[in-house]
Symmetry: C2
Subunit: 244 residues, 2 copies
């Protein structure tokens, strides 16, 4: 408990968004070119300060999603990611940032015309590898966001959030392959997904054509928790797993 007559310090609260999507079969993150100091001209996550002292945090996240990314927050998967509040992370003073993770289906490039001019889908690899440097501690936030998404693909139906309302099983497989950075056997994937009842459900007799046999169409099912889980390859039976 805290002492009487003492006033707690005030801090500035910001909201940052890690918005992931799949474009050209690779994982992208939405970045914005900063127009003001600090880090003017650098790439950064969309986000900003709380508008007023009454604004709810998730409301602020949704507002930024619409203002900075020109996306409809109602249709996107949006969840809490973490808090980044190390002193000194922002030269303007004590800024604590609450990060949210959003997953979007493949959308057109959000270039000119919208509020999101200067926004660009950048390959997540380039951020993770450090090839593309970000403002503040945003690279770390992206790392956490991507790892969060990777983990959730295993046990939840999050993968469907990367897909259009109606999709094929191959579309879904591309999500797993891109986010995990692996390649999966289409035949085993097909059956695994179908056997997990409630994960995806048939969406009419419609089909989709490109060159081969038309694929059945599906939409996200009611099941949110996958059991048994989808299995991420590459850790067959190693002695020491990655650190937590």
């Amino acid at each position: 408990m805290t002492e009487d007559r003492w006033t707690p310090p005030a801090v500035m609260l910001a909201v940052d968004l890690v918005i992931l999507t799949l474009r050209e079969s690779s994982l992208k993150v939405l970045l914005i070119e900063r127009g003001v100091e600090p880090y003017e001209g650098a790439w950064a996550l969309p986000g900003g300060f709380l508008r007023d002292a009454e604004e709810d945090l998730t409301a602020a996240a949704r507002r930024e999603l619409e203002e900075e990314a020109a996306m409809d927050a109602a249709t996107l998967h949006l969840e809490h990611l973490g808090v980044y509040g190390a002193p000194g992370r922002d030269p303007r003073g004590r800024v604590v940032s609450v990060a949210y993770l959003a997953i979007a289906p493949g959308l057109p490039e959000p270039t000119a015309g919208t509020d999101a001019a200067g926004a660009r889908w950048q390959p997540a690899d380039q951020v993770l590898s450090g090839e593309l440097e970000l403002a503040f501690d945003h690279r770390r936030i992206v790392e956490d966001g991507v790892e969060n998404a990777r983990a959730k693909l295993e046990h939840s139906a999050l993968a469907t959030a990367f897909c259009a309302p109606v999709f094929t099983i191959t579309d879904l497989q591309r999500v797993y392959e891109a986010v995990w950075g692996v390649s999966l056997d289409p035949r085993n994937f097909y059956r695994k997904v179908q056997r997990t009842s409630g994960f995806i459900v048939a969406a009419g007799p419609e089909r989709k054509v490109t060159s081969g046999r038309p694929a059945r169409l599906f939409k996200a099912g009611p099941r949110k928790v996958l059991y048994p889980p989808m299995i991420r390859p590459s850790e067959p039976s190693n002695t020491k797993g990655p650190e937590e």
Copy 2:
């Protein structure tokens, strides 16, 4: 990005702790009887405001752990849990609370003598069921903390954080049983844990006696991620899983 010449609203930042442990084979959470308004006399999570505008968030969590729970933060598992910032959750104004989850091995009751007078280990069930009402939105935070712990037992070595530095496989099984609220087959559990190399490692030829055959002693191994994961029973092949 934010406009020029506009000052973001300031909020008060608090840190709250969900400290879980195992006592008498049941899951307990550390609660404190509030000595000041608001909610004077009610049970609440240990926690408090940031000390000053320079204090790091995790440092604040560690400080509260020592001040309010009289525990050594260096030896405990401590991780971010979530942010609770709904307007109106605290009658004193806009308070945003960053919650941390701590896991402690079974410790003596933290009663008189320490700074933590008024602190008590309460059964987690009683909080989750609503039998014991908590101040603010702390019941919700406990719910999230317990669910987080339950999930992490599956895929990480978190269970060892509930144990003393040296423990038996049966001790570890009690952790799973208490946190998950299930009962497990000791023989299958035994082999499952042993097969997951790096999860636990032998700790000398010492033994421990009570009435039956003495058990081998183990300590936490280097492996933090469990693969294959421990499996939480009760969702055998149901059509619809629990919501996320």
